[in-house]
Symmetry: C2
Subunit: 162 residues, 2 copies
């Protein structure tokens, strides 16, 4: 299970494994790029590094934060480009992509949709029994993966019960 | 020389060949996607079809319209995602990418930065001696390619003169 938190400056990613109800983080990290680097190279780095992560860890499903509205048109354009590069990497590798709202992701890990970044980091660390606090962008990516696992499990229980 | 005019609903593309000052369109087309199709598949289609076009025609340089500002955050996000998918395709295939403003592209083909879509279509047809009018999105992509060829030629003459 791969979680991705795309951004032009920093894209977070995290691979989570579920063994029954026990979750653990297999690997996580960030893809950072300098604002001085040309845009095509920055987008290509997001694509290439995500393809490498997928090649190394072989997840079959990806979760990504859904974006309804950005602060303004300029930041929406930047975020959109990073998101396009990340989605193409994931689709290109044949993963199924699920989108979840930030509200649902936070609710899923912290139990509260308006949780701040620190709360998400702390709860992700706890839920995945991580030895150290993941940095915010990686924590958001891991949280998206946890959110998908919770929702997939609920969906399966509903099917089993019917 | 590949020109791309990215868009989530329609992405135009065109391959232009320069033989001295004589230009011709080698191939052009549009990648259209339905709003009912899931976003990851729409973006993957832009990526995949551009990779196919590049594989078939082997351009080494790509020109793409630069976007400074979109109408609003929602349309900027859509455009950004399509642009990200297109840029990743082009970078992934090893092409150098050049960005030109819409103003410069229009000026380059019509001689007037505020030209409308019909004027761009008509001038692209004329410049590339095309038997029929290309549809607007393909014409914009071909215009970006023509713009790059004009600018590259000017740059070379400047170097030669110095």
């Amino acid at each position: 299970m791969l979680g991705v938190d795309p951004g032009l400056t920093v894209t977070g990613w995290g691979v989570v494994e579920a063994n029954g109800s026990v979750l653990r983080s297999v690997a996580y990290g960030v893809i950072a790029s300098s604002a001085e680097s040309p845009l095509p190279l920055r987008l290509a780095a997001i694509f290439r590094q995500l393809v490498q992560v997928i090649g190394s860890h072989q997840p079959v499903v990806a979760a990504i934060e859904e974006v309804f509205m950005a602060r303004n048109a300029a930041s929406a354009l930047k975020l959109g480009q990073a998101r396009g590069a990340a989605m193409v990497a994931v689709s290109h590798c044949g993963l199924a992509v699920h989108e979840y709202s930030a509200l649902l992701i936070k609710k899923s890990v912290v139990g509260y949709g308006r949780a701040d970044k620190q709360q998400v980091q702390a709860m992700v660390r706890l839920l995945l029994a991580m030895p150290e606090l993941p940095r915010a962008d990686a924590a958001d990516a891991l949280a998206a993966a946890v959110c998908h696992i919770h929702h997939a499990a609920t969906a399966q229980r509903l099917v089993a019960a019917s």
